[in-house]
């Protein structure tokens, strides 16, 4: 229960970070969550925060069209808009998950060394 709550709280912080353009906050959230949860939970928080922000943007406009247009301006095929969204989600998850996994592993190691 504590893990679930911390993931929800972490997702809320990541969401707030994304709202303000502080995308790296999701990594910090992941690192902090890693202290008592594993990397998967941390990644879930980062991803949930990113998706919540995406949903917030989607409520105000056509986010898939924006992705397609952005892909086109980036020189990618317009159909790669969906890939752009996938990449965003993957990075949000991976950043938080890897940060969480790192602190989790380091934390467990430290616990093991305690007498």
């Amino acid at each position: 229960m504590r893990t679930l709550l911390s993931v929800v709280l972490g997702a809320a912080v990541a969401f707030a970070g994304n709202l303000l353009g502080l995308w790296w906050l999701a990594l910090l959230v992941g690192a902090v969550l890693g202290v008592w949860a594993n990397g998967w939970w941390a990644g879930a928080a980062g991803l949930a925060g990113w998706l919540a922000d995406l949903a917030w943007v989607a409520m105000r406009g056509p986010v898939f069209v924006a992705a397609r247009v952005s892909a086109a301006i980036a020189g990618l095929p317009r159909s790669d808009g969906i890939l752009l969204l996938g990449l965003g989600a993957a990075l949000a998850f991976a950043g938080a998950a890897l940060a969480g996994a790192l602190t989790h592993a380091v934390g467990r190691r430290a616990k093991l060394r305690q007498p």
Binding site: N18, L54, G61, A72, A94, L98, L102
Partner: protein, 818 residues
């Protein structure tokens, strides 16, 4: 167990480092994905800007208040209680809707594209800096009067307020996010760079370079015959005289063209091709005309104008209506400038076409290893002035550029003999103040007075006022020469410099003419008796076919109304076909049942309309291309004359002087002997036409199938490319009517990306109508990105006026400081 955990930690650290590098944009070529893909502040936030604007209040450090209202179609209407607030508000409106476009324009002109877009644009930057565009913008800014400077200052503050809003609201245009760049603040000199952008687009040509190469291969006499000063066709001049009796006729032998000069000329041709296509206007096409009250159905003058420019998304124009205590106007402005260039006030209206007179003169300089850093001028060695630039290049090292500057202008060649360019755009031209004067003119006399100081780009200003006066004048600066041949590269030794300019009173003009109309379509504005030098038929004067149609319609229709003017503005009649197809049908015959017979049958029933469904239009256009190539290519090949891309030496349907020659040869007013390669027999125009017809049917069958499937729309398309370069954000390509010299022009061959960039009709006391192929916003998700393309394509218009937008959908209120 402990080692395993350390191994996991190490793997996680490595993975995290990789993700971080990707998110920070440190992996080669990738943008910073962390910020780019942040939904609320990255590229996806574009979704939140897909709706129409809502009303806002903005505080500004200007006296007075202003409102920026938007019509349903996005047309911007600015009202202000002070003039300063007006210029600020216009800057704000332009900045909010076109910041990326404005940045591109100033960067293209000022040679800083590579800093934003990378090494691909280094050649363009180098060309612009060699040409001296940045230096000219600075000089123009320094020459501004204090009131004009104050206007630019207020405008600049407005643009920067919009930029700040974009930054604070994570709303900067998507390309910046992908490039991890922030648009630099706007400066007054940037507006002068935009002015220079227009001057260069309209006035910079390299025909003397091309023609000098032609002389080296064809000889002077043949080059003069093929690219004459006075074109082979009459061209319907708008100023028919009487002309002043005196003038200057330069006649010296041309410079000798050796391999080193030819190399220099090739380097100039090559370097110009580095400039992006959206910044080069090589097809000279615009129309304007004014009909006097005595010849209209409305009882008041009607003015029509449609400037033809590269058609991009966003458009080069922002449709703007504005009113303040000192100003009241409506029309189109180029983003980056606070004033409209074409439009109307409550009592006047005007439109421009490019005068297309020669504005670029080239000089071969004499240098010596015994006098490094110097050139021979007036019999002594003079040191070059030197301009030094550091060109920032995104993703690469900064490049140092040194440009020697002679008395004849900067050295433009990169190889071979130094060749300098004297371009009128490098001189100070008070265009901005002139436009301010035009905005305040109430009569034809005041309008002309405002134009006295206009230098470059030379433009045909058509004008009308509510009292019924009409006129047209080709205002500009026209260099005159006593020695040298100005349409070729001249000697840069001080003996062939310009000796003066055409007096304002003698510039081509037609004021309140008895015939009741004035018009221009980039044709040569004067007849053969005009005593001053204006450039040659090759100096991208149009071929005169549009002018012929406009002149014919205005002369033969007793009274014209708005509908008739709309009809003429969207006409796709090919006047050259009207002249040559009967000749072709009279002289070329084919076996019954053959594809050639089918092609001739199409032409026989044709009304010269380049419509989408016309098969004859396809036959005509393809035949014309083959006939031109069959006529001129053998001469080019036999003399070793190359056809560099973008030059006047390329043999195709877009080469106006050669089209005029072909027309004259086929109709018997020019001897076909000009086509004969040295030592070869004179070709028969009829034999050439017959061969071209066979080639045409073979080509059409190969590309479109059997006769019956040759509709023009299957060959000819029109496209409006996006300034971002993204093909997916372009409009089209779509099957399109018209061709390069129909009044409704589709320039550029079978894929047209240039044409009417704005159509306007002002019928005094009745209606003002306008339309542009694009929209007011540069945001691809905005409903106003391309919403006006449809009506433009269909030949529809929207009403506008100086009275403002009725029932705006949103209003931004700018509250000033008192």
């Amino acid at each position: 167990m402990g080692n395993l955990r350390w191994g996991r930690a190490l793997l996680a650290a490595i993975g995290l480092a990789g993700v971080l590098l990707a998110q920070l944009g440190i992996i080669g070529g990738l943008p910073p994905l962390g910020s780019v893909l942040d939904p609320s502040t990255g590229v996806l936030s574009l979704a939140a800007r897909s709706s129409l604007p809502t009303s806002e209040r903005i505080h500004a450090p200007v006296p007075g208040t202003a409102s920026i209202a938007f019509s349903h179609q996005g047309i911007v209407d600015v009202r202000a209680t002070t003039d300063t607030a007006l210029w600020y508000a216009i800057g704000y409106a332009e900045g909010r809707s076109r910041l990326f476009e404005m940045d591109l324009l100033r960067r293209e002109a000022g040679g800083t594209l590579a800093a934003l877009l990378g090494p691909h644009y280094l050649g363009s930057d180098e060309f612009q800096l060699r040409l001296g565009v940045r230096a000219a913008a600075k000089a123009n800014l320094a020459a501004l009067t204090a009131p004009a400077r104050a206007i630019l200052t207020a405008f600049t503050a407005g643009v920067n307020a919009a930029r700040t809003w974009d930054l604070e609201h994570h709303a900067i245009p998507t390309p910046y996010l992908l490039l991890n760049e922030t648009p630099a603040p706007w400066r007054p000199v940037d507006s002068m760079l935009v002015q220079e952008f227009l001057t260069e687009e309209l006035d910079y040509t390299q025909e003397p370079v091309d023609l000098t190469r032609a002389v080296a291969h064809l000889g002077l006499a043949r080059t003069e015959a093929l690219f004459p000063i006075v074109p082979a066709n009459p061209q319907s001049p708008f100023d028919t005289g009487p002309y002043p009796s005196h003038g200057l006729v330069p006649l010296d032998p041309p410079v000798q063209v050796g391999p080193r000069l030819e190399r220099a000329l090739a380097s100039i041709e090559h370097s110009w091709n580095e400039v992006p296509s959206w910044a080069r206007h090589q097809g000279g096409n615009s129309n304007n005309w004014v009909i006097a009250a005595s010849h209209t159905t409305t009882g008041a003058p009607i003015l029509a104008g449609d400037p033809h420019l590269p058609q991009t998304l966003p458009s080069i124009w922002l449709w703007l209506e504005a009113r303040a205590p000192g100003y009241d106007f409506a029309g189109v402005a180029v983003p980056g400038l606070p004033v409209i260039l074409i439009g109307r006030t409550p009592t006047t209206a005007w439109s421009l076409t490019d005068a297309e007179t020669q504005a670029t003169y080239f000089y071969r300089l004499t240098t010596s290893s015994a006098h490094p850093g110097a050139y021979l001028f007036d019999g002594r060695w003079r040191r070059f002035a030197v301009r030094t630039y550091r060109i920032a290049v995104r993703g690469a090292r900064t490049v140092q550029l040194t440009v020697p500057v002679s008395a004849d202008g900067p050295v433009l060649s990169i190889e071979g003999i130094p060749v300098a360019v004297d371009w009128l755009g490098d001189q100070v031209s008070p265009d901005f103040e002139t436009i301010l004067g035009i905005l305040q003119a109430r009569t034809l006399a005041q309008f002309l007075d405002a134009l006295r100081s206009w230098r470059a780009p030379a433009q045909n200003f058509a004008f009308a006022d509510a009292q019924g006066q009409i006129g047209i004048i080709a205002a500009g600066s026209y260099d005159q020469f006593r020695h040298g041949i100005p349409w070729l590269v001249m000697n840069g030794n001080g003996s062939e410099q310009p000796v003066g300019t055409i007096p304002f009173a003698a510039e081509p003009a037609s004021l309140d003419p008895a015939r009741g109309y004035v018009f221009s379509a980039n044709q040569r504005p004067v007849g053969p008796g005009y005593p001053y030098y204006l450039g040659t038929s090759a100096d991208f004067y149009a071929n005169g076919f549009r002018a012929d149609e406009i002149a014919h319609t205005l002369a033969t229709t007793p009274r014209l109304g708005v509908r008739a003017v709309e009809h003429l503005q969207t006409s796709v009649t090919d006047i050259l076909a009207h002249s040559l197809v009967p000749w072709l049908l009279a002289h070329v015959h084919a076996t019954v049942g053959s594809p050639e017979a089918a092609a001739l049958g199409d032409l026989r029933g044709w009304n010269d309309q380049m419509t989408v469904n016309s098969q004859a239009a396809s036959v005509w256009w393809i035949w014309l291309g083959f006939d031109l190539r069959d006529a001129f290519d053998p001469l080019w090949r036999a003399t070793g004359l190359a056809q560099p891309a973008g030059s006047v030496l390329v043999v195709n349907q877009l080469n106006d002087p050669l089209l005029e020659d072909l027309q004259a040869i086929d109709l018997g007013t020019l001897s076909p002997s000009v086509l004969a390669p040295p030592g070869k027999p004179v070709p028969s125009p009829i034999a050439l036409a017959r061969v071209a017809l066979a080639q045409t049917t073979t080509w059409l069958e190969h590309h479109l199938g059997r006769p019956g499937h040759w509709a023009w729309g299957r060959l000819h398309r029109r496209e409006f490319p996006s300034l971002t370069g993204a093909a997916a954000l372009a409009y089209g390509p779509r099957p399109s009517s018209g061709d390069a010299w129909t009044v409704n022009a589709a320039d550029g061959g079978l894929l047209s990306e240039q044409g009417p960039s704005w159509r306007m009709i002002v019928a005094f006391h009745v209606a003002s109508l306008g339309i542009l192929p694009g929209g007011e916003s540069e945001n691809p998700l905005s409903p106003w990105y391309e919403n006006l393309v449809g009506p433009w394509w269909n030949g529809s218009y929207l009403p506008f006026s100086t009275r403002g937008v009725s029932r705006p959908i949103a209003t931004w209120t700018i509250e000033g400081a008192g």
